[in-house]
């Protein structure tokens, strides 16, 4: 039971990270109907930007707590802004010129952009793993391991709390943004009917760009969380995280924001429980198999709407 609780905590943490990335996929898919294959690599760029900023600001575990939190908030904001520029640039160069082209074209440029981003980071930052010393090391002990000390000690670390809390706050703000602001309204309009929206005075190109900007900045948050949680990044983390986050988006129902978050949580939980109870080696196989199974038996996902085929 204790072991289960520990896996549950770890799974929710991981799921929050996947959920944040998945939002980028689901929004882009909702609005222009393409898989932004480079999104995983934007996440990777985000975590690198965060890492560089942390090292540049000289943040270590020795920094006083209050200062540490302020500095991390600064890192978060700057990383979000800079990663958003990356997301915007990828859209501008690789996707916008192909709007209205045949279906496979943007998918292929997306693969190209993904390869280019990965190798750009490999060239500019080196291929080595970048380990970061843990900034928060404390944790709450939820169980004491039983009277004889033989039981399992369940830890809820500060960093896990930080990740989940930040995700919840961001999700709240983001839902507000989509539901109650002009930007969100024009975005939903473009999602429903791009041509009609443009006739009604919505700047479609700008709305799509902003979608990429939002997706990229959420991915950079996920990048920072990933960095703080695992303490190591390299130029290849984007591929796996990207495919899993896409799986999460599909599982939750592509195009649906709460679905992306739910899917992220489920994928995080499945992956942790699988590694906890079965085998660590095959955890990726578990995630990929879920993707295939969901797509085959439930293509609209948990919270998505079935797609109507139009001629």
């Amino acid at each position: 039971m204790d072991y289960f609780l520990q896996q549950l905590i770890n799974g929710v943490t991981l799921g929050s990270i996947y959920g944040l990335i998945a939002i980028g996929y689901t929004m882009v898919y909702g609005i222009i109907g393409m898989i932004n294959f480079a999104h995983g690599d934007i996440f990777m760029v985000g975590s690198f930007v965060a890492l560089i900023l942390i090292v540049a600001l000289g943040i270590t575990a020795a920094t006083p707590v209050l200062l540490l939190i302020l500095a991390l908030a600064l890192v978060l904001v700057v990383a979000m802004a800079l990663t958003a520029v990356w997301g915007w640039t990828v859209e501008r160069i690789a996707y916008r010129p192909l709007r209205g082209s045949f279906r496979l074209a943007p998918l292929i440029t997306a693969i190209g952009a993904s390869i280019a981003l990965q190798n750009f980071v490999q060239v500019s930052q080196g291929a080595k793993n970048k380990p970061l010393q843990p900034l928060f090391s404390g944790s709450f002990q939820l169980t004491d391991g039983g009277a004889d000390g033989s039981g399992f000690i369940v830890n809820l670390s500060y960093i896990q709390i930080l990740i989940v809390v930040t995700t919840v706050i961001l999700m709240g703000g983001f839902t507000y943004l989509i539901n109650n602001t002009n930007l969100g309204r024009s975005q939903r309009a473009c999602e429903q009917d791009r041509k009609m929206a443009s006739l009604l005075g919505v700047n479609v190109d700008r709305t799509i760009s902003l979608t990429f900007v939002m997706g990229a900045s959420l991915a950079s948050v996920a990048g920072l969380m990933f960095l703080l949680y695992y303490g190591v990044v390299d130029f290849y983390i984007g591929f796996l995280a990207g495919v899993k986050a896409f799986t999460a988006a599909v599982l939750g129902g592509i195009g649906s924001l709460p679905g992306a978050m739910l899917g992220g949580l489920l994928i995080g939980l499945i992956e942790t429980f699988w590694s906890g109870y079965f085998s660590v080696e095959y955890k990726d196989v578990a995630a990929f198999s879920i993707l295939a199974i969901v797509l085959i038996f439930m293509p609209e996902g948990l919270l998505g709407q079935p797609e109507v085929e139009k001629v």
Partner: protein, 444 residues
Amino acid sequence: MQARQKDSLLVASVKDSLGAAVITFALACVMIGLRVDVASGRGAELFLEHRWLAVAVAVLVVFAGRLAMNIFFWKREDPPSLNLSGLMPKGGLGAGSSNIIKYGLLGLAVVLPFVLMFWLGARGSRQYIDLAILVLTYVMLGWGLNIVVGLAGLLDLGYVAFYAVGAYSYALLAHYFGFSFWLCLPLAGILAAFWGIILGFPVLRLRGDYLAIVTLAFGEIIRVVLLNWYQFTGGPDGLSGIPRPSFFGLEFTRGEGGFASFFGLDYSSIHRIIFLYYLIFAMALFTNFVTMRLRRMPIGRAWEALREDEIACRALGINTTNTKLTAFALGAMFAGFAGSFFATRQGFISPESFTFLESAIILAIVVLGGLGSQIGVVIAAIVMIGGFEFFREFEEYRMLVFGMIMVVIMVWKPRGLISSRTPSVALSRNAKGISADLVQEGHG
């Protein structure tokens, strides 16, 4: 009046270029300007290396380049029509020039090893023949994938999985049962096709881009299984000592009973290389032959129709699932053949040879060569694989450039760089027959 307009255009150009420069700065300031590295010796401490000069260069280059493009091309009253596609023959390569290229390449491929042998000698030519074998392997893979992507219009991002199935089938059959290459070659193809059917059957109902992701996932699953099933596949160590193929029972060995002594030649290791060259050449030609024949059969016509418009196909009573499945299985079969050739050529295989990148390279060959065009695949494979070898010294940068080129070419010519294949049969122009994706592109 005119001068003022010119001025405002100039101002607009400078403004636009400044904007691009600012964005470049935002992109580069952290990712290029600072490099985080692990200090050696002092534990795992991270330190930063500053490279502000590189950022300045990047910003200046973008500013100057953008400004020049603005002034000379984009922001003029009379923008010169830079119709680069005018450089290409209209409608891809015409029948005449296409035939010349086709037979020219074919003739060259037939005599290539001997030309190289005469020119450079057995020792010097070996690396070039090796390269030619590599190019032909990719040509064969490209032709195989062309059936799936180019003809049937199914985007398969996990094609390398079938290549891996072929390679591992041969390696494992040889390892556990001692089967020979010639017995395993058809078996590997059949097994790969079988896998294609197993994987294809559930997923082929999905629409284009979902299919892409699921095939990608399957490709990764197969790789992860090969990597982790240590007892059976050797895991990351791979399988080595894979037997070499024989020439009608003659081994390429020194001494009695070998290929050289049977034909009264002096033994040389180049014989085997040349044999491998002709082997893959024949296999690639076989792939091409089958594809060309199938394209004229009802099934091939159905593939092309499916690529153009799936809904119309269903309305006409074509069984889309079976049609897709045959394309998928045939493509997989050729990948299986190529895989077992790869295994026998290398003598050693490991999961590292079957990463997603490999799928992306094969896909790039097909797409950049022009979806559905057979000759386009050949030219793209020569340029791309040859280019990779040529720029081997720039190991780090070549994949970066590869990714960028993929984007640029796709943006510039979405229908493929070299030529594109229109459906084998179409309504005549008078009947206003316009292919569906031209309509989607806005030409219709």
